[in-house]
């Protein structure tokens, strides 16, 4: 006579099993193709939103100034570069601050996206190891956070525009949304690819820092594009657009900075009558058309952006494909 083990629960009056036949089977072991990956990201868009919010929250958790830092960064850049380039080096760009800010806006978005995107998988090792979700969401969330910063920084530019009483160019405005979209796709493509590579080769992050530094100085943000174009000459001007950021930066500068014919006479020439009154119509020099940029029609911008856009889309799908291959062992390697 032995006492029995604990009794099994009564199995007779079970409620119906919830999964019978209704739920479609999911083959978890298959590697989704880039389009399916995109569809997965779309299904998990709410998670994307949450992770973006998390990204923002975590970034400024325990910091006193929080989002103010986002604004201080371009403000400080602005002051330093204005002093160095407009005052010391005397770069011939009127309203240098606005010129610089228009390009910096693009660059800040691009570099934050890549910077935080690259580390996004390794930083979230806890999540990646424990649960399944479309992992591209992590670099995409980094980009989501960068978008928020982008808009915050736009306020600095808008403030500057108001301060200097400048208006964006309406003629070139159609190119701006295209530039934003191309920038987004390009940043997403690179962030997705780099985030996966960084799992296996951790010094991608450090390499990226150097690459971004060089890239920044090659992107006609601090100096006017006109200098580049003049140096290359009309036949080879297209070489500049091999840097995909340049057409985007130029579009931003063209639309937001909106270089106009400016009368520079009042400070270049002293009034001839010695009145010291500031301007002298007689001494007025010819208007300098868009001294920072080369005068190109809207079509030129659109075509350059389109080419970059096509390349960016190709890169994007390539990145998704690469990500899918590298994803297999991510949870182990991380």
């Amino acid at each position: 006579m032995t006492a029995t083990a604990p009794a099994q629960p009564d199995l007779d009056d079970l409620p119906r099993t919830p999964t019978d036949d209704i739920v479609p089977a999911l083959e978890v072991s298959r590697r989704p193709n880039p389009l399916q990956r995109l569809a997965n990201v779309w299904r998990y868009r709410e998670l994307l939103g949450n992770l973006t919010r998390k990204e923002l929250k975590v970034k400024y958790k325990n910091s006193v100034l929080g989002f103010v830092w986002t604004l201080l960064n371009p403000a400080l850049y602005l002051v330093v570069f204005s002093v160095v380039f407009a005052e010391v080096l005397r770069v011939q760009v009127p309203y240098y601050a606005i010129f610089f800010l228009s390009g910096l806006l693009v660059w800040n978005f691009f570099s934050t996206s890549l910077g935080s995107g690259t580390g996004s998988i390794t930083m979230n090792a806890q999540l990646v190891q424990k649960v399944w979700f479309p992992r591209e969401i992590l670099p995409l969330a980094a980009i989501g956070a960068a978008i928020v910063h982008f808009f915050l920084q736009t306020t600095v530019l808008i403030a500057a525009l108001v301060l200097f009483r400048r208006t964006p160019s309406l003629d070139y405005l159609p190119a701006l949304p295209l530039a934003v979209i191309v920038l987004l796709i390009l940043a997403a493509a690179l962030a997705i690819a780099l985030s996966a590579i960084n799992v296996y080769l951790r010094d991608t992050e450090h390499l990226l820092e150097l690459a971004l530094l060089a890239w920044f100085w090659l992107s006609a943000i601090v100096y006017p594009y006109r200098l580049v174009a003049e140096r290359l000459g009309p036949g080879r001007e297209w070489w500049a657009s091999l840097n995909p950021i340049i057409p985007i930066v130029l579009t931003f500068q063209r639309v937001l900075y909106n270089p106009r014919a400016v009368n520079m006479g009042w400070y270049i020439n002293q009034p001839s009558d010695g009145s010291g009154s500031g301007t002298d119509p007689a001494n007025r020099i010819a208007d300098v058309q868009a001294p920072a940029l080369i005068a190109h029609p809207l079509g030129w911008y659109i075509s350059r952006l389109s080419v970059v856009g096509v390349v960016a889309v190709a890169l994007f799908f390539g990145a998704l494909w690469l990500f899918g291959r590298l994803e297999d062992d991510m949870a182990e390697e991380i």
């Binding site: 006579m1 032995t2 079970l14 739920v23 083959e27 072991s29 990646v128 649960v131 080769l201």
Partner: protein
């Protein structure tokens, strides 16, 4: 019945570099000169899990059981083979869900909810249950990096079960938290079983496997070596371990065949047993029950008050050395319904041998009986129950006297609270 999980000839191979280049520089310098070593974590494993089934995966460390669970969860992708799942899946891999240390408990619950496919509204609906289950009311708005590992695991488990997954994957999670929480987890898993949910467990704890699983699969070096009822699979698992020279942990049922030396729960020492080497067991010896005495806290009273402790002394007299012996006790009510039955083997507090006269005491911290006379059955038998040396049915009893006016048989200590809003 539909299969909730189908695992079809799944293999997983890791390429391990003997000296792995961790940086691009090294990789460039040593390109083509890397010593790759193939490690087959899983080799051609196939089995199905039926909807509503609870399946355990057993195996030694490195047998591939966790890798397989990760493949089912989707965090790893197998090198070849297919895995198909039906229904929403929640996984608790290696102690707890994926939480972000810098976020608060609350934020993590919402984040985890959305990872498991819940909308904010849906998480709102289960949030209180999650906190309640995890017992983290005061801490839920703290960053989880300040959580203890137990709190972390509790919150992870609470989220995973409250999203009501169709398939729950659990890796060694049931072994964390205090005993009370473990019990709560087991209860909750039983409820999920009743609801027809599918559960995959990876565990070392064969007790737990036996307790909650319908079936167990054993992996050994990435191969499936057994698939069947938990008892059989556990035996195969043990044999595989023994073959590799690993100390075999034994538990109650296994002891039916080989009584182990257990540590005395009171002293923490291995009890001194008359060595069977110098004194061989006497096959003709037998043992009788001399007496069964309930030691009431108040010896004058001759009865017990509800909730009081009790020592039940069973005296024996053996004619020779017997090493295959266990003591059994059953408590009935007056109508003959068995209220409780256990043995020294079931309690895993083994009697190693008896010889001459002695006493075995069943000590109860408290007896949750209310009122009445409760007949006892006491027996002394061999580990497998094949030989019954002596048995006393319904001859002895314990008496409980209820000083209060609550009616019934069982003692439920109760306090009254009156929450009112006139």
């Amino acid at each position: 019945m539909a299969h909730a999980v189908t695992i079809d000839s799944v293999s997983k191979m890791f390429k391990l570099a003997r000296d792995k280049p961790k940086s691009a520089k090294e990789r460039v310098i040593r390109a083509g000169r890397i010593d790759w070593e193939e490690f087959h974590a899983l080799s051609d494993v196939s089995f199905d899990v039926d909807t509503g089934e609870t399946l355990a995966m057993l195996g030694h460390n490195g047998s591939g059981k966790s890798t397989l669970l990760k493949c089912v969860a989707g965090t790893l992708r197998p090198t070849s083979g297919t895995i198909t799942t039906r229904g929403r899946l929640a996984a608790l891999l290696e102690l707890g869900a994926g939480f972000h240390p810098d976020l608060t408990g609350r934020e993590n619950v919402y984040l985890n909810g959305s990872i498991l496919g819940f909308s904010k509204v849906q998480v709102d609906a289960i949030f209180d249950d999650v906190v309640e289950f995890a017992e983290l009311h005061e801490f839920i708005d703290q960053q989880v990096k300040h959580f203890s590992s137990g709190m972390y695991a509790r919150l992870g488990f609470a989220v995973a079960i409250n999203v009501e997954p169709d398939i729950l994957l659990v890796d060694e999670v049931l072994s964390v938290g205090d005993e009370a929480f473990q019990r709560k987890c087991i209860d909750r898993i039983r409820r999920m079983q009743r609801d027809g949910r599918t559960i995959l467990v990876v565990s070392h704890a064969t007790d737990t496997v036996r307790q909650i699983c319908d079936r167990a699969v054993v992996l050994d070096h990435g191969r499936k070596i057994a698939d069947g009822p938990p008892g059989e699979s556990i035996r195969t698992f043990r044999e595989a371990l023994a073959a590799r020279g690993v100390e075999v942990p034994l538990d109650a049922e296994e002891a039916d065949h080989a009584p182990p030396v257990a540590i005395d729960p009171d002293t923490g020492q291995v009890p001194i047993v008359v060595s069977t080497e110098t004194r061989p067991a006497d096959p003709t010896a037998t043992v009788k029950i001399r007496h069964v005495i309930p030691d009431y806290p108040d010896p004058e009273a001759g009865h017990l008050l509800p909730g009081q402790p009790l020592r039940l002394r069973i005296g024996y007299a053996a004619t020779g050395l017997i090493d295959d012996v266990a003591f059994a006790l059953e408590i009935f009510d007056e109508r003959g319904t068995r209220l409780m039955g256990t043995t020294t083997d079931v309690l895993e507090q083994y009697i190693h041998a008896v010889d001459g006269e002695g006493e075995v005491v069943f000590a109860f911290e408290q007896v949750p009986l209310l009122d009445g006379r409760f007949p006892l059955t006491v027996a002394i038998h061999s580990h497998d129950g094949g030989t019954i040396y002596d048995e006393r049915e319904f001859e002895d009893a314990i008496a409980v006297m209820n000083p209060g006016r609550t009616r019934g048989t069982v003692h439920f200590p109760a306090k009254i609270e009156h929450i009112f809003d006139f």
